[in-house]
Amino acid sequence: MADADVLFAEHRQGVFRYLCRIVGQTETARDLTQEVFLRVSRTRVPDADPASLRAWVFRIARNLALNHLRDGHRRPHLVAAVDRAEPAVQELAAALNEAVASLSEVDRDVFLLRETAGLNYEEIAATCGLTVEAVRARLHRARQQLRVALEGPLLVHRRRPVSFGEGER
């Protein structure tokens, strides 16, 4: 059975990145990340496989983030995806931030859990209380919506080098 320290070491960066994108502020995300693992440390860690534990941690993070937003905290500007990149990439990143913000809450969550935290479909389903098929459908819908919103900039970036290797955890 994993303990809270192991979960913290393995998932803190993923949780932080996910929360950054959800709440839009690094400081708030940092506070919420600490709160997530404070709760993890105060709770009996379930005796489960790593994938289920990962989903468990992210479920706590997601609930905290949603509570934070529902408590009247306005959703601020999302954290810049690229800070020191060239202007065209910054422009696309800003457009992408807006497009992600326009997604429905669940679609956005599914997209962020996949892209920023790297959860697989089953883990996302467990985190959000959905079926795997629903995750697949929502992820596709979110991506298609983003493609439409970013059609012009994406066309430009199709001709730029892209990097593979995001499959690692």
Binding site: G14, V82, A93, E115, R136, L154, E166
Partner: protein, 135 residues
């Protein structure tokens, strides 16, 4: 959701795929465009996109610059006071005074007048005269 999109997304997301299905999906122009778009999106929004990271050990809060000299100044003051105290104690320790017996003041000494060598006698009316008016 089409089979092409489903297969390409599963491939990009590391989910199980049927290789023949992927072959068909990538033979289609839309499949290739979808693959590239997903990779571009991931490059911009994924885990490689730079963000501030959490330090392993919490950093101590930084002190305001104007307060940074205070500990050094306090140390200098304390050292100065201690140094002055020690120096003062060392210089104040004198060797014990020799035993010279009880001191006597000048008034206690008996002084005898020398014997006169010449005596002068002055008589009133002869050597001096009294004058009235008391001026």
């Amino acid at each position: 959701m089409s089979e092409i999109h489903d297969c390409v997304a599963a491939f990009v997301d590391g989910e199980p795929i049927d290789p023949e299905q992927l072959d068909r999906a990538l033979a289609d122009a839309e499949g290739r465009a979808y693959l590239i778009d997903l990779l571009v999106l991931r490059g911009l929004y994924g885990r490689r996109a730079p963000l501030t990271t959490i330090p392993d050990v919490p950093e101590p809060p930084a002190r305001p610059a104007r307060l940074r000299w205070v500990p050094a100044a306090a140390a200098v003051v304390v050292l100065s006071v201690l140094g002055g105290y020690v120096a003062g104690r060392q210089s104040g320790e004198r060797p014990p005074a020799p035993d010279v017996g009880p001191l006597r003041t000048q008034t206690e000494i008996t002084i005898t007048a020398p014997a006169p060598t010449q005596v002068i006698r002055l008589e009133p009316g002869v050597d001096w005269r009294e004058r009235g008016g008391g001026g």
